[in-house]
């Protein structure tokens, strides 16, 4: 079988490495290098293992002789002709495959859309992606290049939010905020950290323990409530207004940094290709055939889906889902023979 995998993130690479044991796999990646989303991270939850180490291990799988990586090569369209799929890339080239696995992943929510939170307007308002970079570079600083005295996190930015059009939970931001808060406290124990949440979704193994440790060992403050507005102060800090919904009090406080926990949305590749192939689902994600035992199949024969192109997913689940997708492809092939 000649198989195309679109997207060289953890899902694409893991699936390609399984499929390559018996088949030729072409892996398309729109960026110059694979695994950008993982390499942007410092540590991974729940074990605080190094993100770069995981990326290295995954990248090593690309050296398989049956895998051809086409980097800087965005797939822009896909069409089924008979039993096969023809992919078209951004530079106009086409190639035909027996099976296609969509692993085009997610993009983070554009925080500019929540104008009331002042992202892109006030320097002290940053996203969780920017905070992750600061943690990785050991450079947690406010906009005056000082170690921040107070850092406030806001959960559910662009998720569980009708106004931004995303009613779903992004699943990873609760635990990511807890992870980042712990990292901040490890680097700067004197910095006060507050996390404003709607409810904390500590669903994974080890997550609840992280949450407890954040409070008991690191003194991270958790406040149940949404921030309604951010503004700049006279001394270049950020004033936030919120309601503490447990205490029933409106509150105003100043912080050096407001970190917006941006949720996961369908990437442009996911949205475009799933629409093109007729498998577009809720919120522009790709739709699998059914959520239980056909979660890697689609309504289109020969087209499969894996990872966060379907819905928000953490890295652990993505890798498992990618292996399941590879098995689904191999199963179909066996049945056809």
């Amino acid at each position: 079988m000649n198989i195309a995998v679109i997207g060289a993130g953890p899902a694409g690479i893991e699936a390609a490495s399984v499929l390559a044991n018996n088949h030729q796999v072409t892996l398309f990646e729109k960026e110059e290098k694979p695994l950008c989303n993982i390499r942007d991270k410092a540590f991974l939850f729940p074990d605080f293992s190094s993100a770069d180490e995981l990326a290295d291990k995954l990248e090593a799988k690309l050296s398989h002789e049956n895998i051809t990586l086409k980097a800087n090569c965005a797939v822009t369209a896909m069409n089924r002709t008979g039993e096969q799929w023809t992919l078209t890339t951004a530079d106009g080239e086409t190639a035909t495959f027996d099976k296609v696995l969509l692993a085009t992943g997610y993009r983070v929510f554009d925080a500019h859309q929540k104008e009331e939170l002042g992202y892109g307007i006030y320097k002290g308002v940053i996203t969780s992606i920017e905070m992750e970079k600061m943690i990785k570079e050991n450079q947690i600083r406010n906009n005056m290049d000082e170690v921040p005295k107070q850092i406030v996190f806001l959960q559910c930015v662009g998720s569980r939010d009708e106004k931004s059009g995303n009613n779903y939970c992004s699943k990873v931001c609760c635990v990511t905020a807890v992870k980042q808060a712990i990292e901040i406290k490890k680097q700067h124990p004197e910095t006060d950290v507050y996390i404003f949440y709607m409810d904390l979704r500590m669903w994974g193994q080890g997550f609840e323990e992280m949450y407890r440790e954040a409070q008991e060992k690191y003194g991270v403050n958790f406040v149940r409530g949404r921030i309604s507005e951010a503004a700049s102060t006279f001394d270049n800090r950020v004033q936030i207004k919120a309601e503490d919904t447990l205490m029933g009090n409106p509150m105003t406080m100043n912080a050096d940094l407001l970190v917006l926990m941006v949720g996961m949305c369908a990437s442009e590749g996911t949205a475009t290709l799933s629409k093109c192939a007729g498998i577009d689902g809720l919120y522009r994600f790709a739709q699998s055939r059914s959520p239980h035992i056909e979660d890697n199949l689609t309504s289109q024969p020969g087209l499969y889906v894996a990872g966060s192109c379907k819905r928000p997913m953490c890295i652990e689940d993505t890798i498992q889902d990618a292996r399941a997708a590879a098995l689904a492809i191999l199963d179909d092939d066996t049945m056809m023979r």
Binding site: H112, E115, G120, I121, K123, E229, A231, S232, F234
Partner: protein, 351 residues
């Protein structure tokens, strides 16, 4: 501000031929502002704007205080529209932001539920025998001043530059809630970062003060001031804003809502009396202007003809900073030339 969100939120503003609706309360609070607006439109911009002598309330205050039912408001607004229709106009300009809010709300309602529009037509016909067409364009007068801000600048005698220091004057802009918070799409710059007044300040040489409580309500809220016991809420909101803007040392405040401009002005006197606190270093308070007064001053209109002596916080210090020529002896001279009685001086707030 790094990102200029307001650029993404524009709206259609007609170019000429307007039907003007006056406000119930503005002529008491700022008696010359509406006349100044009409003068600017007609004499400085050469526009056709009609000021009907048959107009009346839009019921906005009663409607938002739950004493006037929706059907009544709808019928009364329908009559205002019928006056516009009768004179052959299609562009409606309500002076008050609450009227603007009421009208944009009704237009949305009628668009979503045409059967309610039919009811309005029926009620108006029964009550008055009149008919009406829907306006093609409803804008607030501040939208028009914003739209023509650069044309006006060409005609201005003065700029928002402190003539003693050569630096831009610092202006606090305050938007009425009913301008953009009901339907953000009807406000220039949307609800979070409204640009309608900020655009005037910037175009005319000033600097906009971006202070933490910039978006906070002034406290005017009808239920807060109509019920005397609730006025504490009103003044508390204004106080919060003054405290937040104070470190930036603003030279003036400009507003596009009758209530905001009135309360931000008058509460400064009240706070001075209650707490011996003023919000400028010298104890005079921060002058509060309507956008018509601001435009009029820079165009060279006489501040006393515009009625600026009726402000609580007196404006001479701002006039001096801008360099506006005025005659102090005319401050309390009536139209007949007779000197009218000057008001008593407050004890704390300097005048």
């Amino acid at each position: 501000m790094e990102k200029r969100f307001w650029n993404e939120y524009q709206k259609e503003i007609a170019d000429d031929h307007f039907f003007y609706e006056r406000s119930c309360i503005r002529q008491t609070f700022f008696p010359g502002s509406e006349a100044t607006f009409l003068n600017i439109m007609r004499n400085d911009l050469g526009k056709d704007i009609y000021d009907s002598s048959h107009q009346h309330t839009c019921t906005g205050i009663g409607y938002h205080s739950d004493v006037v039912p929706f059907e009544t408001t709808m019928t009364i607004v329908a009559r205002l529209f019928s006056l516009m229709t009768e004179r052959g106009y299609k562009n409606y300009v309500p002076s008050c932001v609450t009227s603007f809010g009421v009208m944009t709300e009704l237009m949305e309602k009628w668009k979503e539920q045409p059967e309610i529009l039919e009811k309005a037509r029926e009620y108006l016909k029964k009550a008055t025998g009149r008919t009406f067409e829907l306006p093609e364009n409803i804008v607030h007068p501040s939208d028009l001043i914003f739209k023509f801000r650069f044309e006006l600048k060409e005609k201005m005698k003065y700029q928002l530059i402190n003539r003693f220091t050569g630096k831009p004057l610092r202006g606090v802009e305050h938007i009425g809630c009913h301008y953009a918070k009901i339907f953000p799409k009807h406000g220039i710059g949307n609800a979070e970062f409204p640009y309608v007044l900020a655009g005037m300040i910037e175009a005319w040489g000033g600097e906009v003060v971006d202070y933490p409580e910039r978006r906070h309500c002034c406290g005017f809220g009808f239920r807060q001031y109509l019920v005397q016991e609730n006025r504490g809420y009103s003044i508390a909101n204004s106080k919060k804003k003054f405290e937040s803007m104070e470190p930036y040392e603003p030279d003036f405040i400009v507003a596009n809502c009758p209530g905001c401009a009135m309360f931000l002005d008058k509460w400064q006197y009240t706070i001075a009396e209650m707490e011996h606190k003023t919000y400028d270093k010298e104890g005079y308070g921060i002058p509060v202007l309507t956008y018509e007064e601001l435009a009029g001053l820079l165009l060279g209109y006489d501040p006393w003809v515009m009625g600026m002596q009726l402000h609580q916080v007196q404006c001479e210090r701002l006039l001096d900073k801008i360099g506006v020529a005025y005659n102090p002896d005319d401050k309390y001279r009536g139209a007949s030339g007779k000197i009218l009685r000057a008001p008593e001086k407050p004890e704390v707030l300097k005048v």
